[in-house]
């Protein structure tokens, strides 16, 4: 048997080439967030026009690979790419070679052979986007990896909050529910900390991971703690993640009784958010979901423009983060290029 030889690039730590990705909110600076939200704002204005398509990413290819079901994220990434005139291709794990047992590395090598500019990936396991990045030359966008990160969700949530309040700094956000299994919560906690907002986690003690307060949030196990929050952010009770016999909560009925976001637990002026898909009547009362204070639809709209901004940013900015002031307004830039 021959010896095992290591290639140079296999030496740890895996060093990504100078190519930008969006893997985790932890990789972003406050300036990055401000720039992305600013770009999203400009793009939102462009969408108010009759002709909604921008030529910005003409000739670019955006491939999305979803190993988990998704409505909002996959559709908004696809529409975002199309609105920017990129060619798009979407692959779902079911019905693909993944069903035949193809490894993530081999899928990456296969897709990488088409030279996509951006790869959007959702995967049930933490770190899958990093594997994509290692084995392709594309900019990789993490559209959710296991319980780890969902950075575009956090960005769109910030966008929706800023639309509603006109500011982010000093806001108090209560995140209610199954934090343990929630990549949305993890990304959002980091994003809110980055912009100077305050976070309180509220939920059953079994669903609040031990040590999470190290991320800079406070923790409460009683729903009263949402009283002084500006935003009440309800998390989905992820039934699909609840293993048999795990006993996180005795029943959904008990969960709703103790932590459900119901009209009587809210006060006037509080805004309610939810990443979707909702379990109406479980973590959120249907009346609350449909009430005027709900930002849920705003979040969906924000999803489109924020994902456009992310694609635009990855493909048009330099290899390292550019200070906000130096970034051109994308719509103006397009106008220039057309003129």
């Amino acid at each position: 048997m021959g010896d095992i030889h290591l290639m140079r690039d296999e030496l740890r730590p895996p060093v990504d080439p100078p190519r930008r990705h969006l893997m985790s909110v932890a990789d972003l600076s406050r300036e990055d967030v401000e720039r992305l939200l600013g770009t999203a704002r400009s793009l939102a204005r462009s969408l108010e026009r009759e002709m909604k398509k921008l030529p910005t990413l003409r000739g670019r290819t955006v491939v999305s690979v979803f190993y988990e079901s998704s409505t909002r994220t996959s559709s908004s990434f696809e529409l975002a790419a199309k609105r920017l005139s990129a060619d798009t291709m979407s692959i779902k794990a079911s019905g693909s070679a993944v069903d035949k047992g193809e490894s993530l590395k081999d899928t990456a090598l296969t897709l990488g052979a088409y030279d996509p500019d951006v790869l959007v990936i959702r995967h049930p396991q933490i770190g899958a986007p990093q594997i994509m990045a290692r084995h392709t030359n594309a900019h990789v966008v993490n559209a959710g990896d296991g319980k780890h990160q969902h950075p575009t969700q956090a960005l769109l949530d910030l966008y929706a909050m800023r639309e509603a309040f006109g500011r982010l700094e000093g806001l108090h956000v209560a995140i209610v529910g199954d934090v343990l299994h929630s990549r949305v919560a993890r990304s959002l906690i980091q994003a809110l900390a980055l912009v100077g907002a305050r976070v309180t986690l509220v939920g059953p003690p079994t669903l609040i991971p031990r040590g999470i307060e190290c991320m800079g949030c406070s923790v409460s196990t009683t729903v009263d703690a949402i009283a002084d929050a500006d935003v009440v952010y309800a998390l989905r009770m992820q039934r699909e993640r609840m293993q048999e016999g795990a006993n996180y909560v005795p029943s959904l009925r008990e969960y709703t009784a103790l932590w459900g976001v119901t009209p009587d637990r809210l006060r006037r002026g509080q805004r309610v958010m939810h990443p979707g898909p909702m379990n109406r009547g479980v973590e959120i009362d249907p009346v609350v979901a449909d009430a005027e204070g709900s930002l849920i639809e705003t979040q969906v709209r924000a999803g489109l423009v924020v994902r456009m901004a992310v694609l635009y940013d990855l493909l048009t900015q330099g290899p390292t983060a550019v200070p906000t002031a130096a970034v051109k307004d994308p719509v103006a830039a397009v106008a220039e290029s057309v003129a």
Binding site: M1, D3, I4, H5, L6, E10, L11, R12, P13, P14, S103, L104, K105, H123, Q125, I126, G127, A128, Q130, I131, D145, G146, K147, H148, Q149, R183, R186, P209, R210, G211, I212, C214, M215, Q243, A246
Partner: protein, 438 residues
Amino acid sequence: MSVLHGPAARGDDIVIRGARVIDPARNVDATLDVVVEGGVISRLDAPGAQHVANGHRIIEAEGLVLAPAFVDPHVHLRAPGREDEETVASGTMAAAAGGYCAVFAMPNTDPVVDSAAVLGALIETARGEAAIPVGFLAAISKGQLGAELTEMGELADHGAAGFSDDGRPVAAAGLMRRALQYSTLTGRPLAVHCEELTLSRDGQVHEGAVAAELGFAGYPSVAESVMVERDLALAAYEGRPLHLLHLSARESVEALRAAQATGVVATAEVTPHHLCLTDEAVRTLDPNVKMNPPLRGEEDRTALVDALRDGTIPAVATDHAPHARHEKEVPFEAAPFGVTGLETSFASLFTHLVRPGVVPLTTLLERMSAGPARVYGLEPPRIAVGASANVVLLDTESEWRVGEEPFRSRSANSWLLGEKLRGRVRLTVADGRLAFER
């Protein structure tokens, strides 16, 4: 019957000249010429003495350290079943390159070493192809399923070095008690993997701030320490010795120390990765820092270092766990637990613990040699006239990068890939034979 199995010794004739000889067990630290004849240390002379006999290999070792060779109480040789990952030949060659004169292989193979037939075949293999002597543990329970005891009497008669269900705990307290009672008969130690499965569940990473932030399912310290406490209580009740595999948590160390103070005969081992890393390393999402038990917090790491230094934990074990490359080139959660360690153990601990002054060199040498030897009732390797030659020659000045030279192991899932280390094995003599030379 000996518990070590390897090729029939044909001892070499070697002269190692001018090394700093350190034998912690005998309180020796002096510059000496060491003469090995027919595989036995025949003379220890002041440097420069005339003793060149015909045919002796002369090794010039000025500036190097000569110490009793290492003993690894815990490796996985993957044979039978996963010879693509490791074999008795490749694993023992890796061990020789790491300075080891003996290793003890765990029985969680496919099939499990739970019968005299499987054990016998392994012993035959070792006689044919092992680079250094190997001790084979047999399973505590048939198929390591935790239901029925193996035929420990017969297995001991056929040369099992001890018994372990490593990879999984003996979940039922009743079965663990029976195993302890039965071990009176064999006199061979029981080595236990302490994990309360209902607490570790699908845990991937130490339960704490890092797992909380990254979203990994937590594997809490208490999943280990409650089992450590249970097994120590059973060992105390039955008055039997016990060996605790790969301790990772501060609470486990405290339980062990308390039990030892009341007279329980318990030994334990700790791995280089648990002594050098904490769960902060998991932020890289590198599957080569995924192992069971997981890397824990800084408090745990320092408790393990303290316990190694004061002897509460008498042995360093690599828990060398080779894995196929494609099985580790996957997301962290999909990767199997385990990392290799035989070829890097001394250098990693010398670099991370000895050079910064945390653990004296003599202590490390003792915990890698005499300490683990005693766990399995071996005569500790020593540098003395008349002793079988089991020595390692170390270059403590040499710097190298892990991975720059191919591994002797068939697998490359080292937690140290790419890291620069200080300290290198130059030569290993195992059971009187020159087993490795660089």
